[in-house]
């Protein structure tokens, strides 16, 4: 029996090869204005899916 269920995620480490286009939203700009995080952040790099 499997005791581990892996949730589907993007492999962040793999994006080191293709990422960094910078087209995504500035972290602080969207709603909070008081913290920096990945909430609400979507990748806009079509080559990085």
């Amino acid at each position: 029996m499997s005791r581990i269920k892996t949730i589907e995620t993007k492999n962040v480490a793999n994006t080191a090869k293709k990422g960094g286009c910078g087209e995504c939203q500035t972290s602080c700009q969207s709603a909070c204005k008081t913290s920096c995080g990945v909430a609400n952040q979507k990748c806009e790099n079509k080559n990085n899916k």
């Binding site: 029996m1 499997s2 005791r3 581990i4 269920k5 892996t6 949730i7 589907e8 995620t9 993007k10 492999n11 962040v12 480490a13 793999n14 994006t15 080191a16 293709k18 990422g19 960094g20 910078g22 087209e23 995504c24 939203q25 500035t26 972290s27 602080c28 700009q29 969207s30 709603a31 909070c32 204005k33 008081t34 913290s35 920096c36 995080g37 990945v38 909430a39 609400n40 952040q41 979507k42 990748c43 806009e44 790099n45 990085n48 899916k49």
Partner: protein, 458 residues
């Protein structure tokens, strides 16, 4: 780096450097905890001893689980090595692109909220409105310094930006008139207290603003404690109907009802639930930014209560979603399958480099929270950044800049945190605002737990 925690009945394992999330049972949870420091024989012996009364936990079963863990490790989903530090430094050193501005179109406000980090809109300076010419120059500065970036963001901020609404509209018109020739796509945000919202504002904002941030602290008595006009009258009854009308006509475009909680409403989830019950579905609620001695500042005694509140919120969100009455909470919006790449996660918020604030007089600051602090002035929209030494200080901010962050599991979620929070808490932008870290980590744990709960439902 692996982070394990138990929350809401789930055993969750985060492999932070790959971004992988695993929901595991008790036995696997214990095995993963021991995996790196013990031999297979030791793990087998300890697990069989601990679970002796569980007949289904056999030697073969434990060995199979160890094999599964090894397989996940080999496929880069568990115990992934952190090899990103040099990427962060190289990426920021090689980037001289500005992609977002926070335009302070009004250093004045028609409310007088005593907790305002911007000292009632004045940022500890004079009252002022940005002229169209200054705003236009800010757009020209942004376009000229944005390189090949297509998506550019401008937040109309204050003070209260609706007190300079005609200039906002003219600036949007100007930006739209030049974006195509420069191959740019402007995304506008309006952050407002709502007092001056009327049909003209609603129609224009819903057409042009990609996002609207509406300030409301929740329950009437909570909102009206701080969010008052200059005569001390609460704003709730005036602004809530206006916000409702704006959101009703928004046509599904993004917005946030954004509140601030303080020591006075540590039970802030009741304010979030109140906003949801009013019909608002995109919600954000932030800890107050203020000096530690202020009477409404969050205290050490508040911290465990706040953590509990985040758990209450997460559980209630799961419950409401099931009944078709769900809402979103900004900090719980983690996109596990299409979230940010590693560069985004390690390079910090971009303040002072790709993101800057512009005062009504056209001065540039690293972000809105440094406005008015002259030692952080970067230059202006006519001359550009002239104080490179200040910019370089901000360029050094990343997920690896602080030694305390190196072994922190959350660094690829917070990207090193907020430079302004660090500065206000420690006097250095490279300090660590531990209180904020504690809250941040709790929020990420809750956000991931919600994703696990959703996956378990499928």
């Amino acid at each position: 780096m692996v982070h394990q925690y138990k929350l809401n009945g789930y055993n969750i394992v985060l492999d932070t450097c790959s971004g992988s999330v695993h929901a595991v049972d008790e036995v696997a949870y214990d095995i993963i905890e021991m995996y790196k420091g013990h031999s297979e024989e030791e793990i087998l012996s300890k697990i069989l001893q601990k679970y002796a009364s569980w007949p289904e936990v056999t030697a073969d079963d434990v060995k199979e689980c160890i094999e599964d863990i090894r397989s996940l490790e080999e496929s880069g989903k568990l115990f992934t090595e952190d090899e990103f530090e040099n990427l962060a430094i190289d990426y920021k050193n090689n980037s001289n692109v500005v992609k977002a501005l926070c335009l302070h179109v009004a250093h004045t406000c028609n409310l007088s909220c005593s907790y305002c980090f911007a000292s009632q809109g004045k940022y500890h300076g004079d009252r002022a409105l940005m002229s169209f010419e200054t705003g236009k120059q800010a757009f020209d500065f942004l376009i000229a310094n944005s390189g090949t970036r297509k998506n550019l963001e401008v937040d109309f901020f204050g003070g209260e930006p609706l007190m300079n609404w005609d200039v906002v509209k003219k600036l949007v018109e100007y930006a739209r008139s030049v974006e195509k020739q420069h191959n740019k796509n402007f995304r506008f945000t309006l952050t407002t207290n709502g007092v001056l919202i009327d049909d003209d504002v609603i129609d224009f904002a819903n057409k042009e603003m990609s996002n609207v941030v509406l300030s409301l602290d929740g329950r009437k008595e909570v909102n009206d404690h701080f969010r008052t006009d200059h005569a001390g009258r609460g704003s709730y009854d005036l602004i809530v109907p206006k916000f409702k009308r704006l959101v009703e006509k928004r046509g599904g475009k993004d917005y946030y009802m954004r509140g601030t909680f303080t020591h006075n409403n540590v039970d802030f989830t009741n304010d979030i639930f109140h906003m949801a019950d009013l019909g608002f579905k995109e919600l954000s609620m932030e800890p107050v930014v203020c000096p530690p001695g202020d009477p409404y500042a969050l205290t050490e005694e508040d911290l465990p209560k706040l953590k509990e509140q985040y758990e209450i919120l997460a559980k209630e969100m799961i419950k409401r979603k099931k009944t078709g009455d769900g809402f979103t909470f900004y900090h719980y919006m983690i996109d596990l399958t299409n979230g940010p790449c590693i560069y985004k996660r390690i390079t910090g918020c971009g303040s002072g480099t790709e993101y800057m604030a512009v005062t009504p007089w056209g001065e540039l600051y690293p972000c809105h929270q440094f406005v008015g602090d002259s030692k952080y002035s970067l230059g202006n929209v006519w001359t550009g950044v002239t104080r490179k030494e200040v910019q370089d200080e901000f360029r050094s901010c990343n997920a690896y800049a602080r030694k305390e962050c190196r072994d922190c599991w959350a660094k690829l979620y917070c990207s090193g945190g907020c430079a302004a929070n660090s500065y206000h808490a420690t006097g250095s932008i490279n300090g660590v605002y531990e209180y904020g870290c504690e809250l941040f980590k709790k929020r990420i744990e809750c956000a991931v737990m919600i994703k696990v709960a959703e996956a378990e439902e499928e």
